[in-house]
């Protein structure tokens, strides 16, 4: 009797086969859905750019590439861009290393202040530095007029300086984290065996840091060659690829050439992305872990200390001055030209409208991005399906893509059916979502790696279905990652310029675009005030992030991904 009852119950349990199938395959269905989204909003626009670059009036043609490489102007543009990337990389890595060395090995007293200054540029949109250089050395610049200079910063030098300052924190954060993970006992052992500070640096610290330095260098290179704002504002008549793309599209509506320029910009980015993620993966020296000992400051000889002090002081000073100048300039119509302080820049209607628009777009992007990020992270970490690593690669490749490429890509892909989005606010939000999707995904992955799969298995073991487990167990645990992804996507989106500058419609300005336009047209006061508003917003976001990180121990892995 008993057995009969049991079998009835068992049958009842496995009653609906469709439901069981759904339950077992939900993660795969979710993965497929996410993959379709990625394909449509990330891959399709890129492919559209690739196609456009070889699509003449009568089908396939390489004419536009021929034109690119045979035009001196474009060739110069490519050369300038690569040279800019190279110089920037060297400067940022050297300065970043000096700063990181001082904040992890230097005297206790200097560590904290230097760290703060090194990280300050993070709260600013990168083009703040271009703006401050215009205020100081532009046509009506403070220094230009004070010293009656006939030399102006517009052109290569200006772009190099502003870009370097903008990317120092990124280099610093990456190098600092590798320095921190370097067992201080290694350097102490060398010290103990008789090595001087210079010898320790040469024979131990730098060789061990090399993979980390290389990674940082590659990333900085990719980011700087793709960066649009500084080059567009300060480039003057010096051609660079990213701003040229913009000119070609908006000025001449030449989508073919615009696409060619984009592809040329993509190639080094993609190469470096692969080198970064696959060739360098695991190229790290592992040592047996002991108790983590805070690296105590060594008695560094003045001869070694001096260059570090000089480099860090100059960099820190420059960062400080740039911020100060923009802050002061925000209270004058044109600092140095008009002399009475005003608040009108902060009250300017178009500026505030642009800020409001930016918040709206960024909020939408952050909400969608954070949800997708958590889901994708889950699928990537827990999924066991074919193509899992492909999704991971695609979702994390966003950062390696120059913004201009996704800008044009969205213009090409979504200006006509099947999905016409151009002119709306949605295209801006979606663009930000998929450009910065890596942020949310990384946050989710790093959090998920902290959760043992046993927790989910325990839940399933107790009879919960996949959905129940996901809903009751995974989501609550992932919540901090969701919030972090949200805040970070928000602050990245709100300062981003290079892609959205292609997508804004007349009458619907975003703050970053407003700053760009104002800076170009010489409305220094408005540009500065709008920049300061963005700085304030980003600062608030940072504080929230910091709070969450401390509360939930999201850990350094998150910080690292935030750097990317």
């Amino acid at each position: 009797m008993v057995t009969a009852e049991w079998s009835v119950k068992l049958q009842a349990r496995s009653g609906s086969r469709a439901k069981d199938f759904l339950n077992a395959n939900l993660i795969n269905i979710l993965a497929a859905f996410l993959f379709l989204l990625l394909a449509f909003f990330l891959l399709y626009p890129i492919i559209a750019v690739l196609l456009k670059s070889v699509q003449g009036p009568s089908g396939f043609t390489l004419e536009y590439y021929r034109a690119f490489f045979s035009t001196d102007y474009y060739f110069q543009s490519l050369y300038n861009t690569l040279l800019l990337g190279a110089i920037n990389t060297v400067v940022c890595v050297v300065v970043g290393f000096c700063l990181a060395y001082m904040t992890t090995r230097g005297p206790w007293l200097l560590r904290k202040p230097l760290k703060i200054i090194a990280l300050i540029p993070l709260i600013a949109p990168p083009y703040l530095f271009a703006l401050s250089l215009i205020i100081l050395f532009g046509r009506n610049g403070l220094v230009t007029r004070a010293l009656d200079l006939h030399w102006q910063l517009y052109g290569f030098t200006g772009v190099v300086i502003s870009q370097s300052l903008a990317f120092i924190p990124l280099a610093y954060m990456m190098i600092e984290s590798t320095l921190m993970s370097l067992n201080p006992n290694l350097e102490e052992s060398a010290y103990d065996l008789g090595a001087t500070e210079a010898t320790i640096l040469r024979s131990i610290t730098i060789p061990l840091l090399a993979p980390g330095l290389l990674k940082a260098a590659l990333l900085i290179f990719v980011m700087t060659i793709a960066e649009f704002g500084n080059a567009a504002i300060l480039g003057g008549r010096t051609p660079f690829l990213a701003p040229d793309t913009y000119t070609v599209i908006t000025g001449e509506s030449d989508f073919n050439m615009g696409s060619v320029l984009s592809v040329v910009l993509i190639v080094p980015c993609i190469i470096i992305f692969f080198v970064h993620n696959y060739l360098l993966e695991g190229k790290k020296f592992t040592t047996i872990g002991g108790k983590p000992v805070a690296s105590e400051p060594r008695k560094i000889t003045p001869l070694v200390l001096a260059p570090f002090v000089i480099i860090t002081t100059v960099a820190a000073g420059a960062i400080f001055v740039c911020f100060g100048v923009v802050f002061v300039a925000s209270f004058f119509k044109i600092l140095g030209v008009t002399h009475n302080a005003v608040l009108s820049n902060y009250l300017d209607f178009t500026s505030n409208q642009a800020i409001y628009n930016s918040i709206r777009v960024s909020f939408m992007a952050a909400a969608i991005g954070a949800i997708l990020g958590v889901l994708m992270a889950y699928v990537i970490v827990r999924g066991k399906f074919f193509g899992r690593s492909f999704i991971e690669m695609v979702s994390l490749s966003g950062f390696a893509l120059p913004g201009t490429v996704l800008g044009i890509g969205y213009l090409l892909a979504f200006s006509a059916p099947p999905l016409k989005l151009t002119g709306g606010i949605m295209i801006l939000a979606l663009n930000c979502v998929f450009r910065f999707i890596a942020v949310g995904v990384e946050a989710g992955i790093s959090k998920l790696h902290q959760i043992h799969i046993e927790i989910e298995e325990a839940s399933a073991d107790l009879g919960a279905s996949f959905l129940t487990t996901f809903y009751k167990i995974v989501l609550p645990i992932m919540f901090p990652a969701f919030i972090a992804g949200f805040v970070y996507t928000f602050m990245t989106a709100i300062v981003s310029l290079s892609a959205v500058v292609f997508l804004v419609s007349p009458g619907f300005d975003l703050a970053s675009v407003k700053i760009f336009d104002a800076a170009v047209y010489g409305e220094i006061g408005i540009a500065s005030a709008t920049t300061m508003k963005l700085v304030l917003i980003v600062m608030i976001c940072m504080l929230i992030l910091d709070f969450i990180t401390k509360k939930t121990k999201l850990g350094s892995s998150m910080k690292k991904s935030a750097a990317v």
Partner: protein, 367 residues
């Protein structure tokens, strides 16, 4: 143990204090280490033992006090100019160098000629039985092998004092026993003055000439392992170097000639042979009763000297010994019965007799 007591001490610590900000982590430590001696700093985590080692190595500055190495004050010398070498807990082997390059690093830094470096490295490799491993990279070595390389590297320059910071804590239990014997053998063979840091009291006792038991930045007791175990200075040390049963009592009489001493306890009279001179008649004392020093037998009614009766609360047989928990009045006593023969009977016994040894050590009770 081959320690030459009459020579000048190799290492002297004089009134060492160390502050981190306002936090005093070493609160006045003085110590002399003889040439060829192996001295172990042992204590619970946070007691300051590693800090003290780092002070000797020069990685941290002393706030006050002197460090004297072989007659020379070395307070202000940085590690690279001190004739001390340290072996870190995590070995800190340079992962971008081979075994031979690691061992030869200090020699190269000190500008030894290449052929001498080669010869010395070879000698050291042979000494730690890694003759054929010179060209290996560090990550191709096992934990024990890495430990040997670190040891060889620290010895390469023949330091006056070798500093070992928990060198065995990353090894698994078996290997730890083997390595500690090897380290001790080499240390005795080379007659190298060594300061060893560990939190493992048994390791400390097994390997050392003398133990320095530390707590809260202070030295609690210095002595040979036997002294520390059998004649601990206070309750903390007694409990730190092994399990201990305490029993209160009062000295009823001391025979000046034979040192026969009677202690009144609430469970009856205990007679011992007093071997310490800090105890006088009438003192309130704590008896330090080690679990293995007590004889336990089944209650057969008759009572002898120093025998207390108790109730057997649990009897856990584990082959070579049985752990007995006995209630004597309201006091729990843990007794290790080695070579347990009557296990079967003990398992069902309720009443037992325990015999307190005459050699019990006494601690003066602080009033």
């Amino acid at each position: 143990m081959g320690v030459k007591q009459n020579e000048r001490p190799m290492l002297i610590l004089k009134g060492i204090h160390k502050f981190y900000g306002k936090n005093e982590v070493i609160k006045g430590v003085s110590l002399e280490v003889q040439k060829g001696e192996l001295v172990t700093f042992v204590g619970p985590s946070g007691c300051g033992k590693t800090t003290l080692l780092r002070l000797i190595g020069g990685f941290t500055d002393v706030s006050s006090g002197d460090i004297i190495l072989d007659g020379q004050r070395i307070n202000d010398l940085p590690p690279n100019l001190r004739d001390t070498r340290i072996c870190f807990q995590n070995y800190a082997l340079f992962p971008h160098m081979t075994v031979a390059e690691n061992i030869g690093y200090g020699l190269k830094i000190n500008k030894w000629p290449r052929d001498r470096i080669e010869a010395r490295v070879k000698e050291l490799l042979k000494m730690v039985e890694l003759d054929t491993f010179g060209d290996r990279m560090i990550d191709k070595l096992s934990g024990g092998q890495q430990q040997r390389v670190a040891f060889a590297r620290a010895l390469s320059l023949e330091p006056k004092v070798l500093l070992l910071d928990e060198p065995l804590s990353n090894l698994d239990a078996n290997l730890r026993l083997i390595m500690r014997e090897e380290i001790r053998n080499l240390q005795e063979k080379l007659q190298i003055t060594t300061v060893f840091v560990t939190h493992d009291q048994f390791e400390a006792m097994a390997i050392s000439d003398r133990l320095v038991v530390m707590r809260d930045g202070l030295i609690e007791q210095v002595g040979s392992p036997i002294e520390i175990y059998e004649r601990p200075a206070n309750e903390f040390i007694a409990g730190f170097v092994g399990y201990v049963n305490f029993m209160e009592g009062r000295i009823a009489s001391i025979d000046e000639k034979t040192s026969d001493t009677v202690i009144n306890t609430q469970y009856g009279k205990i007679e011992i042979t007093l071997e310490q001179d800090d105890i006088v008649n009438g003192d309130e004392v704590l008896m330090v009763i080690r679990p293995e020093s007590v004889n336990i037998s089944l209650d057969r009614g008759g009572k002898g000297q120093n025998v207390l009766s108790g109730a057997l609360k649990s009897y856990m047989y584990a082959g070579s010994l049985a752990k007995c928990t006995v209630m004597i009045g309201d006091r729990t006593m843990i007794i290790d019965q080695y070579n347990p023969r009557d296990a079967q009977q003990f398992k069902h016994a309720e009443k037992v007799e325990v015999e307190i040894p005459r050699s019990v050590h006494l601690l003066k009770k602080k009033s």
